[in-house]
Amino acid sequence: MALIDVHHLTKQFIVRTDWLGRPRTVLTAVHDVSLTIHSGETVGLVGESGCGKSTFARTVLGLYKKTSGTVLFKGKDVENPDTADAFHRQVQMIFQDPYASLDPRMTVEDIIGEPLRNYGICSSPSQLRQRVAQLLDEVDLTREAAQRYPHEFSGGQRQRVGIARALALEPDCIFCDEPISALDVSVQVQIVNMLQRLQKERNLAYLFIAHDLAMVHHLSRRIGVMYLGRLVELGDGDAVYHRPLHPYTQALIAAVPVPDPHCRRQVCLSGEVPSPLDPPAGCVFHPRCPLADERCRSEVPVLRDMGAGRMAACHHAGKEAL
């Protein structure tokens, strides 16, 4: 059974209201996205900024109120109060900015201990201290760190504190929202390796959100690609990375600068991501797509099964676009 099952999730934000408070401009940040996460696997979610990947994660977790769709946790709807409690306990989150995601006025012990306090897990202060020390060991920080404030640490160390906090409740799944994009290259590897180690030790599932395709490919068993709030491709990590079906995925992979001076490429996609306030009709990618034809301009492509567990939302899926 799937650990987390998201069906047709849509999230809209009201950008502007009239003076009576009625919505006037609505932004669809996530449009009809379905995704399944099995226990112990890593699902990567890639896309450019503003494609709705973070909003998707936050909406699934209930940090934003969803507009429509259902989220099932171990087969049960999370709107059911009993499931909701287990869901919020078992699914934790790591944030992108290790500076902003830790309260500057709390010590590391208070930060890591916060989830434990919320659920009343450690009854005595000494028990709590012990548990925090254990968690610090887990993320390779020294125990003295407990009494310090976040600003005394470097970015990578702060991110470790964030991971320790996410681990405190022994979750089944962690949503990692761009956990490494704010870090230096050499530190990124330390965090990535730590995430992999923890996954092996605890059979954790990850939803790994990033814009660094190479890193997502390195970590994930399955990869989903989002564009303008839609999931345009989903499938096995290697297949998506090496044999992308959707023209956008192809362009995205081709655009990554390869760290090899012998392999200089000059491919690029023309144009820019349109405003999500006014998405194009038909396939949202058609104004930039080299394969676009009349059908793409009028008919919205649905995410369809392409065999071998792969899905793509494109009328021309599988054709070479570049």
Binding site: E48, S49, S154, G156, Q157, D184, V185, S186, V187, Q188, V189, Q190, V192, N193, Q196, H211, L213, A214, M215, H217, H218, G237, D238, Y241, H242, A251, L252, A254, A255, V256, P257, V258, P259, D260, P261, H262, R264, R265, Q266, V267, C268, L269, S270, E272, V273
Partner: protein, 331 residues
């Protein structure tokens, strides 16, 4: 030596802070020839931007100190130039584009105003300036430039803003362009567009480009020669192929080992342990030794000199010391 367009010798830059004097770069030497693209790569705080800002003399004047070394531009010493001479040099001879195009553009002026301002500075009539601005916008690939001229920075996307910034930098046809993390704030597809643009412009105008980036991919795709910086010093330099094919310094090796290899997905990345030192507490010997897996006793005591591997490829590491082989033989 002096036929380089720009050459920097042993440049050390310090800053006065309330915690004391902080040395941001230490004895950095580099040169740029006319028309070539040189990359400076390193992680945050390694002094790569400071070096570029030092050449442009854009460092805050009340706190930055040029503590040693010289910068010569076409044989002229830059450090001793006064502000007036420097202003003539900036823009006409060298220009800079920044990481965040939003902060580098004035939000209350239209794009047209900002481009024309630089042109009119160099004695051009209003009509001429507007014509030139239009053609510049066309050159950097901005669609419907007539409309863009009258728009404000916030009305443009990040990629568009970076293009405008490039247009401004190009307005006086500089011979050297500093690109300080020009694509870091951009998405991958936009990044590819901006890099392509830079490449085209560089070839067309035959200008030299100094590309500062933490992204090894960008460096590999764009540059001819590379300087690798760590904690304020240049640890390795050479042709881009030397650096990527036969890295000599353990730091460079570590950086390259931090990149995932799409062909071997299951390989564990090695990376580099630890983290960059605090600039106030610099190790005495080699600045990298606390994180280096090959560290030797001498590394903790003495700063390694730069050893030449091949022509133009040098690395500052004791592992490359010829006497080490001899010593090992006798051991």
């Amino acid at each position: 030596m002096n036929d380089h367009l720009l050459s920097i010798d042993n440049l050390s830059i310090s800053f006065r802070t309330y915690r004391g004097i902080l040395e941001a770069t230490h004895k950095v030497s580099l040169f740029v020839d006319a028309g070539e693209t040189v990359g400076i790569v390193g992680e945050s705080g390694c002094g790569k931007s400071v070096t570029a800002h030092a050449v442009m003399k854009l460092l805050p004047r009340d706190s930055a100190i040029y503590s040693s070394g010289r910068i010569s531009w076409d044989g002229r010493d830059i450090i001793s130039l006064d502000e007036g001479e420097m202003n003539r040099l900036r823009g006409r001879d060298m220009a800079m584009i920044f990481q965040d195009p939003m902060t580098a553009l004035n939000p209350v002026l239209t794009i047209g105003n900002q481009i024309e301002e630089g042109l009119r500075y160099h004695a051009m009539s209003r009509q001429e300036a507007e014509q030139k601005a239009l053609s510049l916008l066309q050159e950097v690939g901005i669609t419907s430039p007539e409309r863009r001229l009258h728009q404000y920075p916030h009305e443009l996307s990040g990629g568009m803003r970076q293009r405008c910034l490039i247009a401004m930098a190009l307005s006086c046809e500089p011979r050297l362009l500093f690109a300080d993390e020009p694509t870091t704030a951009l998405d991958v597809t936009t990044e590819a567009q901006v890099l392509q643009l830079l490449r085209t412009l560089q070839q067309k105008h035959q200008m030299a480009v100094v590309l500062i980036s933490h992204n090894l991919g960008v460096i590999a795709q764009m540059c001819r020669r590379v300087y690798v910086m760590y904690a304020g010093v240049v640890v390795e330099t050479g042709r881009v192929e030397d650096i990527f094919d036969h890295p000599a310094h353990p730091y460079t090796k570590g950086l390259l080992a931090s990149l995932p290899d799409p062909a071997h997905k299951d390989k564990v990345l090695t990376g580099i342990a630890g983290q960059a030192p605090d600039l106030f507490h610099m190790p005495r010997g080699c600045r990298f030794y606390p994180r280096c897996s090959h560290a030797m006793r001498i590394c903790a005591r003495t700063v390694p000199p730069a050893y030449e591997q091949e022509t133009g490829h040098t690395a500052a590491c004791w592992l490359l010391c010829p006497e080490r082989e001899v010593c090992h033989g006798s051991h």
